[in-house]
Structures are given as structure tokens and as C-alpha cells.
């Protein structure tokens, strides 16, 4: 057998794409059921109001309606609350009923659910529910939420302050006292709407005889949803099956457990075996699926005269929204832990306060806390460079740890696994041709054109993570099932939904077993098919799930070797080698497929060999991984209109070993596009009454293809030692690195106007007004 080129490391097109681009994917809404009933949910139009009456009898008797439920029905059935999995020490946590009881706390909060024989009948019946509200003043601004005299959203907590959290090391006070220069900047990380193209959707079906509930839901974490759902509705976990079919994007918004999932399960149990279905509308998705970011803080840095960081202080307020969703309170703690970025510093103090407001909950959105951390430290590095008259690249280089300092202990107590930050920085500067670029910038500026160059270096935290440090456990599982024909079925506990593991896991397996890529099938998302696992988030699939797969494959080979020895007439399994798809010993060989057949036929097996050929393994990582890189962005600002256009965008990322460069590029491209969204366009705007003004895609601008420049991507490769694959993760790096690179570029372009900071999004009018106000210097 000729050794063929390994699949790993090749630019292989995603094997999942042909079905997706031809419309053959099966999303929740595509699943077909007999006797399906439809659910429509009544939501509060008010952000903050007492419920004085909720009258559903007219809706109950409407044509086609078979049930209308309110919180009273949930209470009678002892249905549990929507859980929060990240209750920080000392945190004040309100009860979160799946349907509002007595009071509504954000516009869009569910009040009642209608089940009817058609989607139209369910929707029409909503208009027959009579609700009386006693509106209360709304609390929208998170800083105002903390002020005395502000209305309290959860009376039982007596305050809107949910928690205070901090992390520190060194003597920050002394650092600021002895500093040659102190800089400070208030920074707003605006609220964003994740906007997956497929909204959420749930179908639930319950068979009363078997007491078996199945919930089809568009989620990133089917196993965790099963555990939480069983708890909320009082069914044994082994009577609950959760299926995540094709999931059309999530970006963290489906790393959650929602009221609607509990509600649909409850309705299914009441109406079983009739299946019930709810597909989220875009309006509901904007109002009732978690938002991202929503942090406002001030960062201060103390610097020595040679521009070394002596200390950093960051105080921020995290807008949690009305209720803490699954991981919401943990997100700003990730900001805190990553606040030192890719830099050395003698001391740090991060203090985060979480507050409740009359808005949708915030939670994980691509990057989840790290974009905030990177953005503020990278803005700070540019401000430092301007203040001290230094090259922004040099300020960064000077404060980066050298490659010999890894594993590197950060000021916030993390241990960065591996890295060579200056190499990525220098590579980016070299590829972009920084010296020539600066020259061009100067000469174009002389002609009145506003050219800006923005640099951002980052280190981020991936491969979540050691179980002790992750709310639900951070391990992952894999089963490798070799079929009698030698085809390989892999069951992963992760739940890919766009990341491409059906391709990359197959690359690993095909190389490992010496078989064709087509001979590997990857299964995921169905808790009754796949062993328990954690799910997909925090750029963890390859680093944690891929390693579990590797372990399971090793077990399969270890199990196969005694059989191979037996069949080849070798004295023991130790004499057998496995490579290029064949077991070899004593000058003879047997192919992987032949061995698989023999293992299942079991007509001739050695003593103690259990027929069949499969293995399950799980992997518990001992640390997170820490990808890094440098992004450089070049923009031009239209002097007359404030419009920003991209001239170049270059990303040098280091995500450790690369399994499939094409998929890594794809993740970086998508990440940068979402960063463009935050930097230039997106902002979830609530008005003073708590109404979501950007309530539809007509008003909430996600970036389109024509708004993105050509992305130049490049890499350095520094393997991680946290896992045997040497991989780190790349799902979020683009978003993390690009947001500050873009903003730094725009602010650099505005240097002639004396602008040192502008809060995102950098919409043209904001820039135009700054240019009007400041005038050219």
C-alpha cells in the first residue's frame, strides 16, 4: 500500500456543505411530524410593569386552540425555573419563571403560550388574551441601575446590584504612585444581538405510556439541555432525549437553556403524544434570545518612563439584563481573567459589578468576555503610544513576554500554555509592509486624505476547559465504532453547528486508521445516539473533543491488536504494529477492514477477546489553551461624510497545530466579519422606556459581504502542550483580534483631528460630528 498524503493539514472542503448549500439540511423547522400542533407565545410589550390581570378564557375557546397556559399552570405542575449555571459567590439571583408571574421585567418576556392546530390559529389567538399592565419606570442604563432611588427590578433582592467580582495581583496602588505616566480611558462595549441566521426553534413530543420525552431544539449543548430539562420538568433524565438537528448558527446564543424549551416540554407532556412546535420569529429572536457584550468600564494603566506596564486597573459594570441566563454572570469574569491581554505587568486590579436592567439578558456571544478584554487593553496600548510618542507596535513588543517565558503566568493568575507573540507581531508588520505603509499614510495625509493603520495583538482563552473552572464540566467524549465493513462511525459529545468537525474529525480518523475520508461518518447532537458530552462553545471542539476522539481511536487499535496477533500468528499483541491501514506482524499483514470483519464475525478470536470493535473515551484538559496573534487594519475615512472604507486587512493568527487550513481561514473570516459588525455598525438600542428600537434586521445592521474587505490571512504555528494534538482553537480569534484593530485604524485616521478615542459602533455620522467639532489641526 502506497503511503498517501495525510488528510490532516490539507485544505479539504467541508463535507457538510453540499447538503447545506443545496437546501438538504434538516433544521428543527424541516422536521416532519404527524398531528403537529403549533405554539405561539404572548410577550410583554412593556419593559417593566405589574401584571394586574391576565385573562385567557376567550383565547381558550377560539377556533383551533387546544390549550392556553400561564404561569399558574406551570406552578400547579411544579415546573422549575430557568436555571443560571454561573451563580457567582455572593450573587443575588432572582427566581426566573419560564412565564412571568405578577410582573414583567423586559419587553419580550413570555406571559402565556397558545397551542393550536395551525400556526395561524395560534398566532390569532394571542390577540384574544387580555392583559392589564400597571407600567413602572424602566431601568435601562446599567450605571443608572446602581444609583439610589432607581426602581428595583427584583423587589426580593432589594437592589439591582447582582454581584461584585474581582481579581488582582501585585501592588496596584504602588504601581500608580510610582508611574512615570498614567493613562485612563472610559470604554463602552455596546450590546450586540447575536443574529444567527436560523433563529431558535423547538419541537417536543411526549409518549405517556413510555414516559418518554423528546425535545428537538436548535442548541449548542444537547446533553446539558437534557440534564437541565429533566430537572425543570421532573422527568428522570433517562426518560428525556434531546436532539440538536442541523443548527444554523448560534455564536453563543444557543449555549443556553431557555424558557421556551421548558415550556414546549411542559406542553408536550400535557398534550402527548401530540407533538408541539415553536419556531422563533426574527422579532422574538431579537427580543428574547440572549444579547452579547453590554459592559462599560474604565481602564487605567501605569507606565514606567520606558513604557513598560507597571499596573492596570479596570473597573466595569456588566449589564446582565433582567434575568441571569445560563452563563451570563460568568462572561465579565472572563474579561477580568483576560484583562492583561498578551502583556507582562507587575500588578493588576479588575473589579466587575453585575447589574440587572429591564432588557434582555446578556450572555456568551462569540468571544464571550475576551473581545471586551482585548479591546480595552489594545485601545489602551494605542492611547499609551500616542501619549508617549511611540510606535504602537513597539509599545506592544516591549511589553510582550518572550517565547522563553512560557508557560507564562499572567497577572490575573492564568498560565498561558505556549506562545511567541513578537513573532506573530513582526510577521504581521512584515507582511503588511509597515514602513512603506506609514510613508504612504504620511504622503496621503499631506494631500488631505485620512488614512489610518490599526494594530491589535491578542491572546485569548480557548478549549474550555478544565472541569473545575467551567460551570458544567469541561471535558469531552468520543465513541469510535468500527462497523463490520470497516467503515468508521464516530459519536462526538461535542455539538458542531458550523465549525466543520464533520470534516476535521473525519480527517483525523481517516489518517489514524489509514482509510478514506468518505469511510468516516461523524454523528452528534442526539443524546440517545451519542454518549454524554458537554457541547460546542469556547473554541473547544478540536482541542477537547478531538483529543477525546484520538484517545478512543487509540483504544480501538489497542483492542484490535490481540486479534491481529491471533490472526497473523504472532506471539503477542506487542509484536503487532498498525500503520497505513494495516496490522502487521511476522511478515504478514491484515487490513483494517479485514480485521473489523473478523472482530464482528468472531469465528476465530483469541481467548478473552470481546467481539466487536469500538471504544469510548473522554478527555479532561489540564489547562485552557491560549491562541494569539496580531491583526493589522488599514482604513480610509471620507473627510466629507465620515464613512469608513477598508484598504487592507491582514490577520496573523496562531491557533497551534492546524488540521484544515481552509476551515481555519473560514473561522477567521467569519470572526473578522462579526468584528466589523461591532466596530462599525451594530448596537442593540433600547430607548428610555425599555423598548428595543433595533428590533428587526431592517434596523440592526449585521455586516454583509459587500461591507467586508478582502481578508489576508496568515499564521504562525506554536503547538499547545495541553493536548496531544497541539491544537488551540480558532472559533473566536477573528472577532477578538479584529475589533480593536479596526477601531484603532479609524482613530489613527482621525489623528489630524486630535481624536484619541471613540466608542463603537463607529458609524459615519459619529465620525463626521467629531470632525466637525474638532476641526483639522
Amino acid at each position: 500500500m502506497n503511503a498517501r498524503e495525510p488528510y490532516v493539514g490539507r485544505r479539504i472542503k467541508r463535507t457538510e456543505d453540499p447538503r447545506l448549500i443545496r437546501g438538504l439540511g434538516q433544521y428543527v423547522d424541516d422536521l416532519r411530524f404527524a398531528d403537529l400542533h403549533h405554539v405561539s407565545i404572548l410577550r410583554s410589550p412593556h419593559a417593566h410593569a405589574k401584571l394586574t390581570s391576565l385573562e385567557v378564557s376567550k383565547a381558550r375557546s377560539a377556533n383551533g386552540v387546544i390549550a392556553v397556559v400561564t404561569v399558574d399552570d406551570l406552578d400547579r405542575a411544579a415546573v422549575g425555573d430557568v436555571p443560571c449555571g454561573a451563580v457567582l459567590a455572593g450573587m443575588k439571583k432572582p427566581a426566573h419563571r419560564p412565564l412571568a408571574r405578577g410582573k414583567v421585567r423586559f419587553a419580550g418576556e413570555p406571559l402565556a403560550a397558545v397551542v393550536a392546530s395551525s400556526p395561524g390559529a395560534a398566532r390569532d389567538a394571542l390577540d384574544l388574551i387580555a392583559v392589564e399592565y400597571d407600567p413602572l419606570p424602566s431601568v435601562v442604563d446599567p450605571e443608572t441601575a446602581l444609583k439610589p432611588g432607581t426602581p428595583v427590578i427584583h423587589e426580593e433582592l432589594e437592589t439591582n446590584r447582582a454581584f461584585d467580582w474581582s481579581v488582582s495581583s501585585g501592588d496596584v496602588g504602588a504601581a500608580f504612585k510610582s508611574a512615570a505616566r498614567v493613562v485612563s480611558q472610559r470604554i463602552v462595549h455596546q450590546r450586540l444581538i447575536p443574529c444567527s441566521i436560523e433563529p431558535r426553534g423547538v419541537v417536543a413530543q411526549y409518549f405517556p405510556g413510555a414516559r418518554q420525552l423528546t425535545l428537538y431544539t436548535s442548541t449548542q449543548i444537547p446533553h446539558l439541555v437534557r440534564t437541565m430539562l429533566a430537572g425543570a420538568i421532573g422527568l428522570p433524565e433517562n426518560h428525556v432525549r434531546v436532539v440538536a438537528p442541523e443548527v444554523g448558527g448560534a455564536f453563543g446564543s444557543k449555549l443556553n437553556f431557555y424558557a421556551e424549551e421548558i415550556l414546549l416540554a411542559f406542553l408536550a407532556m400535557r398534550l402527548g403524544p401530540r407533538p408541539v412546535k415553536w419556531i422563533e420569529t426574527r422579532t422574538e429572536n431579537f427580543a428574547g434570545t440572549i444579547h452579547g457584550r453590554g459592559q462599560v468600564g474604565t481602564i487605567e494603566a501605569a507606565l514606567s518612563s520606558d513604557c513598560r506596564i507597571l499596573g492596570v486597573r479596570y473597573r466595569s459594570i456588566q449589564d446582565l439584563g433582567a434575568y441571569p441566563q445560563l452563563l451570563g454572570p460568568a462572561i465579565p469574569t472572563l474579561t477580568g481573567l483576560m484583562a492583561a491581554g498578551c502583556y507582562k505587568m507587575d500588578s493588576i486590579l479588575v473589579e466587575v459589578t453585575g447589574v440587572y436592567t429591564n432588557q434582555m439578558s446578556t450572555d456568551a456571544y462569540r468571544g464571550a468576555g475576551r473581545p471586551e478584554a482585548t479591546y480595552q487593553i489594545e485601545r489602551m496600548m494605542d492611547i499609551v503610544a500616542k501619549e508617549m510618542g511611540m510606535d504602537p507596535a513597539e509599545v506592544r513588543r516591549r511589553n510582550m513576554p518572550g517565547p522563553e517565558e512560557f508557560p507564562f503566568k499572567t497577572a490575573t493568575g492564568l498560565t498561558y500554555d505556549s506562545g511567541d507573540y513578537r513573532r506573530a507581531l513582526d510577521r504581521a508588520l512584515g507582511l503588511v509592509g509597515i514602513e512603506k505603509l506609514r510613508e504612504q499614510q504620511r504622503s496621503l495625509r499631506d494631500q488631505g486624505r485620512l488614512i489610518g493603520i490599526g494594530i491589535a495583538s491578542y491572546a485569548e482563552i480557548c478549549a474550555l476547559g478544565p472541569s473545575a473552572a467551567v460551570p458544567a464540566g469541561g471535558w469531552e467524549s468520543a465513541t469510535v465504532r468500527v462497523e463490520p465493513s470497516g467503515k468508521v462511525t464516530i459519536l462526538t459529545g461535542a455539538s458542531p453547528h458550523g465549525q466543520g468537525e464533520e470534516t476535521t474529525f473525519a480527517q483525523l480518523a481517516a489518517d489514524f486508521f489509514g482509510i478514506a475520508l468518505d469511510d468516516v461518518a461523524i454523528k452528534h447532537g442526539d443524546t440517545s445516539e451519542v454518549q454524554y458530552g458537554i457541547g460546542t462553545f469556547g473554541s473547544r471542539n478540536m482541542a477537547v473533543g478531538g483529543t477525546a476522539l484520538l484517545r478512543a481511536m487509540e483504544r480501538v487499535v489497542a483492542k484490535a491488536k490481540p486479534l491481529a496477533a491471533h490472526l497473523l500468528g504472532a506471539p503477542s499483541a506487542d509484536a503487532v504494529t498498525f500503520s497505513e491501514g494495516a496490522f502487521r506482524a511476522a511478515g504478514k499483514s491484515i487490513s483494517f477492514a479485514e480485521l473489523a470483519a473478523a472482530a464482528h464475525r468472531a469465528a476465530s478470536i483469541p481467548e478473552g477477546f470481546e467481539p466487536g470493535l469500538s471504544a469510548t473515551a473522554s478527555f479532561e484538559p489540564k489547562n485552557f489553551t491560549f491562541p494569539f496573534g496580531t491583526h493589522i487594519c488599514v482604513v480610509e475615512v471620507d473627510r466629507e461624510t465620515g464613512d469608513v472604507s477598508f484598504l487592507r486587512y491582514l490577520a496573523v493568527d496562531d491557533c497551534g497545530k492546524v488540521i484544515n487550513p481552509m476551515l481555519v481561514d473560514g473561522q477567521v473570516h467569519g470572526g473578522i466579519a462579526q468584528a466589523i459588525g461591532q466596530a462599525l455598525y451594530e448596537e442593540a438600542i433600547y430607548d428610555e422606556a425599555g423598548q428595543l428600537v433595533t428590533g428587526e434586521l431592517m434596523d440592526y445592521p449585521i455586516p454583509k459581504a459587500h461591507q467586508c474587505p478582502r481578508f489576508e490571512t496568515d499564521r504562525t504555528e506554536t503547538p499547545s502542550d495541553v493536548n496531544p494534538l497541539g491544537v488551540k482553537g480558532v472559533g473566536e480569534a477573528g472577532t477578538i483580534g479584529a475589533t480593536p484593530a479596526i477601531v484603532n485604524a479609524v482613530i489613527d485616521a482621525l489623528e489630524p483631528f486630535g481624536v484619541t478615542h471613540v466608542d463603537m459602533p463607529l458609524r459615519p455620522e459619529k465620525i463626521w460630528r467629531l470632525m466637525q467639532k474638532e476641526g483639522t489641526s
Binding site: 420569529t281 426574527r282 422579532t283 461624510t641 438600542i685 431592517m698 455620522e765
Partner: protein, 291 residues
């Protein structure tokens, strides 16, 4: 996203359409490409009792670019106009404007007549028909036909000169003489509608003296309008940078109450209209967009 219940009819003749629109009165709505109407229905922001689909009426979906005036049926889609080689030769402003609307899927369904009759203050076509001084032909009860000049057609936010029971059936455009045209548009970043859109049509000879000027501006006021003062400042003058700059300053003279929302303030819209008026005029005059 389910609309309130409604009756649906798709008549085969214009007469049937008009009689249905007449009999159903205010509860009736004509359905053309549906790109504005259907989202509004789905959000239940409107709940007409009767939809009258124009899709089966013969003859409304056509472009006749050979004649003078050019005639475009109300049901011609944006994509048909965008792709029309004959229009590109006869009146290039129309394909240029068409290509700026929404995305290709929207342009494949949406129609010029539907857009004009809807009179969204940020739609693109109103700017074009104003700049071209088009005639909008409407059909009404008892086979009545009337022609409404574009400058009289737009009468406020989503309001037109079309009376109840009348239907826009054709757009007639005098073939522009020698010169140039351009459309400059600033898109609202989410919807793609115009925050400011300026269509300019200039007729001039080799001496670069302006014989005729048409400037239509959308996205800025309650309805699209003609920048009459700016047009007057150009006619008879040499089309140079100085004159174009001065004329553009007059572009928003009559707008007292500009649109203002989270995407752009009134002040910024007015500024953009003047900046892009200059850019459109420069391009129409064969100069580069930026001075």
C-alpha cells in the same frame, strides 16, 4: 410571522383588478412584487381584507426602450431594468438606480411601479423619476387613464397623488439628450434603504454648457423631491467644479423638516444630500466624484 387573514385574488385583466380595488375600497391593497407589503403584513403592521395580485395581468411587465418616450410597465422588476441593455443605452440612470436597490433576490421580485406607488421616503425610484421628469400613468374606473408628472406624484410619507381605486400602470420617460447621469446613494447599513440618495441627469453639449438639469433626492424628507433651485443654478451655466459646488449647496434649500432616526439625524442627512448631490453632478458632468 403570520399575517392576519385576508382574501386573495389574482385577476387576469386590468379591468377586473380595478373593479376589485373599487369594490373593496380602503380594505383593498394591490400586490405587486410584495417586497414592502408582505413584511408589513407579517409583522401585522397592516391588515388589508383583500389583496389583489397584479401578477397575472398581461402587459404590465415590459420595457419599451426604443420609443420616445421610453415606456416601462409598472410590473417591470428592478432586475429587468438593471439587466436591460436597451435601457443602458437609452437611459443609463435607470439601470444604475435599479442595481442599488436591496439585494438581487429583492430585485428579482420587487417592481418599479410597486415601489413608486408605495412612496417610501427612502426608496430609490422616486429620486430617479424626479430627476428624469417622468410621467406616471395611472388607470382608473371606467377605463379612465391619466398621466401624473413625477414632480406632483409624491405628496408625503407613503402618500401619492393616486386616488383610491386608481392603479399605476406605466412610467414614461422622455429620452434624455446628450449629457450624463449618475445616482449617488448612502445606504442605511441595516435595510439598504437610502439615508440620502441623489439622482442627477444633465444634458450638455461639447461646450459643457448645461441645457437641462434634473435632480431628484430621496431619503432626506417626508417624500422624495426635486432640487429645483440647484437645477436652476446649473441650466445655462458651464458645468465646472465651482458651479456644481455652488448648485449643490442649494440642494436641500426647501427641506424644513428632514427625516431623523437612529441611523442618521436630520442635520446629517441634509449634509449628505448636499455632498452627494455634488458627487452625482460631477459624475453626470463627466468629472470624478470627488473634487
Amino acid at each position: 410571522m403570520i399575517p392576519s387573514p385576508f382574501e386573495y385574488a389574482a385577476p387576469q385583466t386590468l379591468e377586473e383588478v380595478l373593479s376589485l380595488l373599487q369594490s373593496a375600497g380602503a380594505g383593498a391593497k394591490a400586490l405587486s412584487g410584495g417586497q414592502s407589503l408582505l413584511p408589513v403584513l407579517k409583522l401585522r403592521l397592516a391588515a388589508p381584507e383583500q389583496l389583489v395580485d397584479l401578477g397575472k395581468v398581461p402587459g404590465l411587465r415590459r420595457i419599451d426602450a426604443e420609443k420616445d418616450p421610453i415606456a416601462i410597465g409598472a410590473m417591470a422588476t428592478h432586475a429587468m431594468i438593471e439587466d436591460s441593455a436597451a435601457l443602458r443605452a437609452a437611459c443609463p440612470l435607470l439601470p444604475e438606480v435599479a442595481a442599488c436597490i436591496g439585494d438581487r433576490q429583492v430585485r428579482n421580485r420587487g417592481t418599479i411601479g410597486g415601489s413608486l406607488a408605495n412612496a417610501d421616503p427612502a426608496a430609490d425610484w422616486p429620486a430617479a423619476v424626479l430627476a428624469l421628469d417622468a410621467e406616471l400613468v395611472a388607470a382608473g374606473p371606467r377605463s379612465a387613464i391619466k398621466s401624473i408628472p413625477a414632480r406632483d406624484f409624491f405628496q408625503g410619507m407613503m402618500k401619492t397623488a393616486l386616488e383610491p381605486g386608481w392603479l399605476l400602470v406605466e412610467i414614461r420617460i422622455r429620452r434624455p439628450g446628450k449629457g450624463g447621469s449618475a445616482y449617488q446613494k448612502v445606504r442605511q447599513s441595516a435595510s439598504g434603504f437610502a439615508i440620502a440618495g441623489v439622482a442627477a441627469m444633465l444634458e450638455y453639449g461639447p461646450d459643457r454648457v448645461c441645457k437641462r438639469a434634473g435632480i431628484g433626492i430621496t431619503g432626506v424628507a417626508q417624500n422624495a423631491f426635486r432640487a429645483v433651485a440647484a437645477e436652476k443654478a446649473l441650466v445655462g451655466a458651464l458645468l465646472d467644479e465651482k458651479r456644481i459646488g455652488a448648485a449643490s449647496q442649494l440642494a436641500t434649500e426647501k427641506v424644513d423638516d428632514p427625516l431623523s432616526d437612529i441611523h442618521a439625524s436630520g442635520k446629517y442627512r441634509l449634509h449628505l444630500a448636499r455632498v452627494h448631490c455634488a458627487r452625482a453632478l460631477r459624475r453626470a458632468a463627466g468629472l470624478s466624484a470627488n473634487p
